[in-house]
């Protein structure tokens, strides 16, 4: 009590001073650097999208979007390629989502810490780092050569399944991990079994992030090229229809088509087709990202009554 407390330095002294000034300058520089970096990212994206629009917008017509590719003359379209992209995406999701959902659910909700969980986790992480061209060659070996399927939509879809299972499993795990533990306790405390808890309390609460994750992975599948060149093939099926649902027919996707156009196309308007395809591909992938957000939010509101 008796000890005197030194009076604080006057405000003006604390706010000016050399040290205070240099701290303020460092702070400004740091802010400026971060802002510049963030702006660079946005700027690059804008330039990129803008360039593709300028180059490709004139090419993209209704005929271009629906017409069949031409082998040697100008004026071909990419209709079947777009169809194939969606078809292979659909097949891939058909295989990937159920397996990844169950595996992720098992790892997150059932498997306690232990050897088996570590093993699955390690396998998934290893699988996730395999370059897609390697996965493509693996698909070539298995589906094309060993199974004698030749280039097929199914072989491509299965290869993409292998490629994307780990990511999808991770998405599931993270979505489930985001559900508060108190909801699990609430459900179990009411006498629910583990399965009922997962199905009725946890999955509905995780539906938003789950959908977002699935659609984002779908966007990646849509743009995948290397894994498909040697599995789904680089030509469209010239069957009776350009829109071929037979999974055992060859199925060139838009992304593969883009690659092929620049590599070995004989058509005189290859550059234009390339620019148009790139634009369509980009818009599709951007659309996936937007859809992911919108659908995720809608489903969350639907299932939980709250955004």
């Amino acid at each position: 009590m008796a000890r005197a407390i030194a009076p604080p330095a006057p405000l003006s002294a604390r706010l000016s001073g050399d040290r205070a000034r240099s701290r303020r300058i460092v702070d400004r520089i740091a802010t400026g650097l971060l802002w510049t970096s963030a702006s660079t990212v946005v700027g690059l994206l804008l330039i990129f999208v803008g360039y593709l629009f300028v180059k490709g917008a004139g090419v993209v017509t209704w005929h271009f979007l629906t017409g069949s590719p031409s082998a040697s003359e100008a004026g071909g379209g990419v209709g079947p390629l777009i169809f194939n992209s969606f078809y292979i995406l659909f097949l891939t999701l058909l295989f990937t989502v159920p397996v990844a959902l169950c595996a992720g659910m098992y790892l997150q909700e059932y498997a306690g810490p232990g050897r088996f969980r570590d093993l699955v986790q390690f396998s998934a992480e290893s699988l996730a780092t395999v370059p897609s061209i390697v996965m493509g060659l693996f698909g070539l070996l298995i589906f094309v050569q060993t199974f004698h399927w030749h280039f097929t939509a199914l072989g491509g879809a299965l290869t993409l399944t292998l490629l994307n299972l780990p990511a999808m499993m991770r998405v599931t795990q993270e979505a489930l991990a985001g559900v508060p533990a108190t909801l699990r306790e609430a459900s179990m405390g009411l006498g629910a079994t583990k399965w009922q808890t997962v199905l009725r309390a946890i999955l509905p609460s995780a539906i938003g992030p789950l959908t977002t994750g699935v659609v984002l992975v779908a966007g990646r599948i849509f743009g995948e090229t290397a894994a498909l060149i040697f599995t789904a093939g680089a030509s469209v099926s010239y069957g009776k229809s350009a829109y071929d649902f037979n999974p055992f027919h060859t199925a060139e996707t838009l992304a593969v088509g883009l690659y092929q156009t620049h590599r070995e196309a004989l058509v005189p308007d290859a550059d234009a087709i390339g620019n148009g395809s790139a634009l369509v591909l980009l818009v599709m992938v951007l659309a996936f990202n937007v859809i992911a957000r919108v659908v995720g939010r809608r489903l969350t509101i639907h299932f939980t009554g709250k955004a």
Partner: protein, 260 residues
């Protein structure tokens, strides 16, 4: 070291003998013995970390869900050991409900929250479910506030309303015993007094065991009180005895505020 302290002249709903709970190597509950009388309120009090919540969670096998937790000893409900190998923990939790410290409604509508339990136990009849919902919400003193917004999100309710919803959700599965883990600690005084009034109503039909930090609350709402210290169940008795004539010096120290 503590003798089982049976409370005479009342039916015993639950009985705990030689209960030890471990988290890994740490022993959180040491040899607890207690009889819980039917249709009364029993309060568990003691300083933070004394093991009262751990004890509570042993009574409906919630520790089964905690990796590394281990329970020894016997806990009976109407004479049947709930830890016996042939007993299904899911059935145990159906008969012994639990209300948690923080309100934890499902992110669903008010109605879906209340009928969650009945639905998982196989009730699918819409009219029957509506009846259950109304009855449970009335019993939890939430009906008047919720009846016009049954299909709105439970997350839009206030904290106190959410906690009463959680109680309604437990009542909807018609348990026999309700465990409450500091149900009012996250609530304001008005919401707290509503919960306390509700507990007074509930004991007409249910056996209530409540963990509370507030000795005033224990004194207001409970018929019996158990005092925990450092994992030991030191003393059990009628609430008036515990608060006016504690046998153990340490109980008295705590009651009079010389502890935690």
């Amino acid at each position: 070291m503590v003798e089982p302290q049976f409370i005479p002249a009342l039916d015993e709903k639950m009985n705990v003998e030689g209960l030890n709970v471990f988290y890994g190597a740490f022993q959180a509950i040491k040899n607890a013995n207690i009889g819980v009388p039917d249709r009364r309120v029993m309060a568990l009090i003691g300083p933070s970390g004394c093991g009262k919540s751990t004890f509570l969670r042993a009574l409906n096998r919630m520790h089964d869900l905690t990796p590394g937790a281990r329970v020894e000893g016997s806990v009976t409900l109407d004479g049947t050991d709930i830890y016996a190998p042939e007993v299904d923990p899911v059935t145990v939790r159906h008969r012994i409900g639990m209300v948690f410290q923080r309100p934890n409604p499902f992110p669903k509508s008010i109605y879906e929250n209340v009928v969650y339990g009945p639905k998982i136990h196989g009730e699918n009849n819409k009219n029957r479910l509506l009846e259950i919902a109304e009855k449970s919400l009335r019993a939890a003193a939430l009906w008047d506030e919720a009846k016009d917004r049954l299909h709105r999100s439970a997350l839009d309710l206030s904290g106190g309303q959410q906690q009463r919803l959680c109680i309604a959700r437990v009542l909807a599965v018609e348990p026999e015993v309700i465990l409450m883990d500091e149900p009012a600690s996250a609530l304001d005084p008005i919401a707290t007094s509503k919960i306390e009034d509700l507990i007074g109503e509930l004991k007409k039909q249910y056996t209530v065991i409540i963990v509370t930090h507030s000795m005033q609350q224990a004194a207001r709402i409970s018929d019996f009180t158990a005092f925990f210290l450092l994992g030991e169940l030191l003393e059990v008795g009628t609430t008036s005895d515990i608060f006016t004539r504690p046998k153990d010096q340490r109980t008295e120290d705590y009651i009079t505020g010389r502890y935690g």
